[in-house]
């Protein structure tokens, strides 16, 4: 980068990212440890597997801003770290859209996404994805299809009250913070879900 300001922003982004991770570790009593073999950034307990860090400041807020304007800012734990790397590298052709970000933004987001990815956090669903696969579409993951496979035809799709499975918050009110518990599901026009 040609300007001092640019480097200051990158540095601030990295520091903020590290601060968010460190603070998350200090405040939570119930974090689950284990990092799936990938260690990024500050030592200490990783963020709890059951929720996305709340966007109080720093990189989580940056992620919401850069990746949450056109669709839900999907919880990083929904994909393995390598998938996030792949997505960041292909933003100029992002499922038919252009979602380019600046190099400084990518530099700030990448470690945070990888640190909070499903396999980094030890999520079974993420670690079960074969190593040679790098899926980019959450809705096509095997575990996702398994969870949504019993929804009656016609409930979700063009013309239905929920247009797409990718619109998680339509039925999962806690989706923005990574909460998808069955008890909270409310499908528009159909109510709760009881398996």
């Amino acid at each position: 980068m040609r300007t001092v300001v640019g480097w200051v922003l990158v540095g601030a982004g990295l520091v903020a990212g590290g601060a968010v991770l460190a603070r998350e570790g200090e405040e939570r009593e119930d974090v689950e440890e284990g990092d799936g073999g990938a260690t990024v950034g500050a030592p200490g307990p990783m963020v709890g597997v059951n929720r996305t860090p709340t966007p109080t400041e720093g990189v989580a807020t940056l992620y919401q801003k850069e990746c949450g304007s056109c669709h839900l800012a999907y919880s990083p734990r929904l994909l393995p770290a390598r998938s996030w790397v792949g997505l960041l590298a292909g933003l100029s052709s992002h499922f038919g859209d252009n979602a380019e970000i600046t190099p400084a933004t990518a530099l700030a987001l990448s470690p945070w996404l990888r640190a909070n990815a499903g396999d980094t956090l030890g999520s079974r669903a993420a670690t079960r994805i074969p190593r040679e696969e790098t899926p980019l579409r959450i809705t096509e993951l095997t575990w996702f299809r398994g969870e949504h496979g019993e929804i009656p035809r016609g409930w979700i799709g063009p013309g239905a009250s929920v247009t797409s499975l990718a619109a998680c918050a339509s039925c999962h009110p806690g989706a923005a913070t990574g909460r998808f518990g069955e008890g909270e599901i409310r499908i528009p026009g159909h109510g709760g879900w009881d398996d």
Partner: protein, 127 residues
């Protein structure tokens, strides 16, 4: 007529946010002439071919009335109105404006917007 255009442009410039004012100077340095809201408005609805045999324009997501909310053409997500008269946080950050020009000009037109086009768009949106 030219004097009238200049007067109207000056009046509009008084309504620009600092971010827009700064960008307008940059676009001028890059070769843009006086921004014209009418040109920006016409370009807003101009249609370009998409890969599926249909068309797309700025209005595809933002609508043709920038004082109304738009809707993302693929995800259906609501897009807040672009007009700062209706949505005061719009057009207040130069980096944000440039970011969305980068993404959306390339998606819509398969190329970057020229400094003139950006200036005209900002003049139109700032109305």
């Amino acid at each position: 007529m030219r004097v009238l255009v200049l007067i109207l442009t000056a009046a509009a410039a008084a309504a620009w946010s600092p971010a827009v004012g700064g960008l307008m100077s940059e676009y001028r340095s890059a070769g843009a002439t006086d921004p014209l809201a009418a040109r920006g408005k016409a370009a807003w609805s101009k249609e370009y071919p998409n890969a599926e045999g249909g068309v797309r324009s700025c209005a595809s997501c933002h609508g043709s009335d920038v004082r109304q909310a738009g809707k993302h053409a693929t995800t259906g997500e609501r897009i807040a109105p672009l007009s700062p008269q209706v949505q005061p946080d719009r057009l207040t950050e130069a980096a944000e404006i440039e970011k969305w020009f980068g993404r959306n000009c390339k998606w819509t037109m398969a190329r970057s917007c020229t400094p003139q086009e950006k200036a005209d768009f900002l003049a139109y949106l700032s109305l």
